[in-house]
Amino acid sequence: MPFVMPKDTYAGKVNTLTFGSEDKAVTIGGENGLPFLSFESIIPNRPLIALEIQDVAPSDWPDTVRTVYDGVSDSPAKWARFCQDSLGAKIVALRLTGTHPDRENRSAEDAVKTVTEVLSAIDVPLMILGSGHTEKDAQVLKAAAEAAKGRECILGKAQEENYKTIVTAAIANNHKLIAMSQLDVNLAKQLNILITQMGFNKDNIIMDPMSSALGYGIEYTYSVMERIRQAALVQNDPMMQTPLLCDIGPNVWKTKESAAPESELPEWGSLEERGIVWESVTASTMIMAGCNLLVMRHPKAIEAVNKLVSELI
């Protein structure tokens, strides 16, 4: 009995999305098959990684990853430039953590200042992320979007509670948009529909299915992403064909596994490698489920993931 290669054909493809300005612009998506099956599909753009910085010093990050940015993380502009110039970042993701009401409660004006500073410091594309407080994010991202006009950034995240303001700001200032829903494939589709019905071009949406860390629900994110890609590629659902984003830094680096010293838990082994492998494997899992854009923190984890991607394509 001879072996016949079992090739699948796909009715749809993932949208291609380019962001950033001029010669530093980058492109993600465009694949027309399930992840890394190049014997039956084309993968025009490899998954990319954005390095995360914050508008406030990362005092709450575990040692393993905080110390990497000692000396630069007290200034977002310095931090951004370090990521671009010393770490070779192709994209920088600025999280406006300080604007959260339970944190420093910085204002939208403060955010504008930070965004402007960071944009002056780098040429590579910028992703602007709110703190996750849906109400505050609406104002903060609106202001940030205006401040970043002309740089074709990625703005995020628009959620069911606050998408109207953020979408309007993204349209007015020509930015791409991250749409995030809570680990639910049907809600993800509905949010994309609502955003598109406001007049936002569906080709400029990136979906964040809501990430979870290894050991803390990662399989939920993994399966939601696999189901999203089934809808996009097999069912050719035009509302599900956006590229996928996985913002894994906060989830990974708040786990016990990334922070507990070996002395406390000897059966868990060395802390530094443990934190790095925790971020690396969380990332590789997302990559295998179809992630086109990762937001990560530790350079060694990023290196391992980039090496993996080169070996996969």
């Binding site: 009995m1 001879p2 072996f3 016949v4 290669m5 079992p6 699948d8 992840p35 890394f36 099956l37 190049s38 014997f39 709450d60 339970d102 996750g132 979870s212 290894l214 050991g215 803390y216 629900g217 990662i218 399989e219 939920y220 993994y222 399966s223 696999e226 189901r227 089934q230 708040k254 786990t255 016990k256 596994e257 000897p266 059966e267 868990w268 082994g269 060395s270 802390l271 490698e273 443990r274 790095i276 492998v277 925790w278 690396s280 494997v281 590789s284 899992t285 295998m288 060694k300 391992a304 993931v305 090496k307 993996l308 070996e311 996969l312 394509i313």
Partner: protein, 445 residues
């Protein structure tokens, strides 16, 4: 594809004699199709029909048991975990070269023996050891196999050699412990098959590419060995994803028997972190056994956790044990919170309490793994049952002040819960979202 009831019915006597215990042949056929009955029940089945139905009832991917503890591999039925649970979590194997020194080997064995960890109440460990013949010296290979078999009596063994003489020399030390003999190829086939048949062990076969592998597999099966483990020679991450996908698709969607067997993946990399990352690809994409070169504790923690996550039943939520968990240096003045035993809920709430740096008692109630709202809607997380749980637990003894913090989503229960608790208990409504816990707890401190 398994046969449908109608297809099976075509091969039955169609007499409706009821000897099988079912009213009609069609009813019996439907049971056979659901794998809930055996063809043995029908006394009037022709030999030919029995053979045909027997072959069709075989699982598309063979199940093989390895090692003294009976680790099972294979038997997979789907390509995507969201369709149906992946069946047999892939065991991790530590690779030991027979050229390594005795001390190094002793340490490897000790590492495997002490590799067990507890993850959400499941005991996970490095289950297998692969001894690799690098020396070309049969006596040396046999000696190392003996050292490993004696030193790690609970671990399953993979004998990795393409020299039949080396396998012959070594197999005596472990044949009764269900080892995997790996290294059969087109050149050494006859000798390796002979050993596998004599010693009744599973045989790992290698051929580069799926055409050659299919041919080899068919040949081996024809020679009478049916416990086969496949190695297509995939070594890069790209080859792994592509070839393991093709093998599983062929087995499941095309009923291609030659590739209907478990797959062994040799993942060796110089950098241990990168080796973990490549191994993770194998875990997600269909490897049945994963052989790594090192098993540092941080690495096995990550890989075993990922394996546990990927092999979780998507229908059955993961649950944690019902009990009062102490978080931080909690004492009789620390806050007492209650929530459900859905493991995601537990981990997230626990994580936020830890972030707050406020030591607490976290009362976790068994609601069969449902989240707070789902459990409430199902009537499992209601005032009466919560009150009973708290009063029967050690909580009243742990806290000086009888105050219970309730998840904000079920604030509607607070009055009734206070009544049912009685005894001076006070119920405080906590935040709706876990990420509001740090602010809430710090505010109360």
């Amino acid at each position: 594809m398994a046969l449908s009831g109608v297809e099976i019915f075509k091969h039955l006597p169609k007499t409706n004699c009821k000897k099988c215990g079912y009213p009609t042949c069609l009813a019996f056929a439907m049971k056979l199709a659901a794998l809930q009955e055996s063809t043995d029940k029908c006394p009037d089945l022709s030999e030919e029909a029995k053979k045909f139905l027997g072959a069709a009832a075989e699982p598309p991917i063979k199940g093989i048991t390895l090692g003294p503890k009976g680790v099972k591999v294979g038997e997979e039925t789907v390509l995507f975990r969201h369709e149906k649970k992946f069946v047999n979590p892939c065991p991790i194997a530590l690779n030991i070269k027979d050229t390594e020194g005795a001390d190094a080997i002793t340490k490897h064995i000790a590492d495997v023996n002490s590799s067990e960890i507890d993850r959400v109440g499941q005991m996970l460990r490095v289950d297998l050891i692969c001894v690799t013949d690098e020396s070309g010296d049969a006596a040396r290979f046999a000696a190392v196999v003996k050292q490993v078999a004696d030193g790690a009596p609970n671990a399953g063994l993979i004998l990795n050699s393409s020299r039949p003489a080396s396998i012959e020399a070594a197999i005596g030390h472990c044949a009764d412990k269900k080892p995997l003999v790996y290294g059969a190829n087109a050149e050494n086939l006859d000798a390796m098959v002979k050993i596998a048949k004599e010693k009744k062990v599973a045989l790992g076969i290698f051929a580069k590419g799926l055409d050659a592998l299919s041919d080899l597999s068919e040949k081996v099966k024809g020679m009478g060995v049916t416990d086969i483990v496949l190695d297509s020679g995939a070594r890069t991450a790209k080859e792994m994803v592509e070839e393991y996908t093709m093998i599983r698709r062929a087995a499941l969607k095309k009923s291609f028997k030659p590739l209907g067997f478990p797959v062994i993946s040799f993942v060796g990399r110089d950098d241990s972190t990168f080796e973990a990352v490549v191994a993770s690809i194998g875990i997600m994409k269909y490897a049945s056994i994963i052989v790594v070169n090192s098993i540092e504790k941080w690495k096995t923690l990550a890989l075993l956790t990922l394996r546990q996550n990927i092999y979780t039943d998507p229908q059955v939520p993961m649950q944690v044990e019902q009990k009062i968990y102490k978080i931080g240096d909690a004492n009789e003045n620390s806050p007492l919170l209650v929530t459900t035993n859905f493991s995601l809920t537990y981990f997230i709430v626990r994580g936020e309490i830890e972030n707050s740096k406020v030591p607490c008692w976290l009362a976790i109630m068994n609601v069969e793994g449902l989240s707070v709202l789902t459990a409430w809607a199902a009537g499992k997380f209601v005032a009466g049952s919560i009150a009973n749980f708290i009063k029967d637990s050690e909580a009243p003894k742990l806290v000086a002040k009888k105050e219970l913090i309730l998840p904000g989503y079920v604030s509607v229960l607070s009055g009734s819960l206070e009544d049912k608790l009685g005894d001076g208990w006070k119920v405080v409504v906590g935040p709706r979202e876990a990420n509001q816990l740090p602010a809430f707890l710090k505010g109360r401190a």
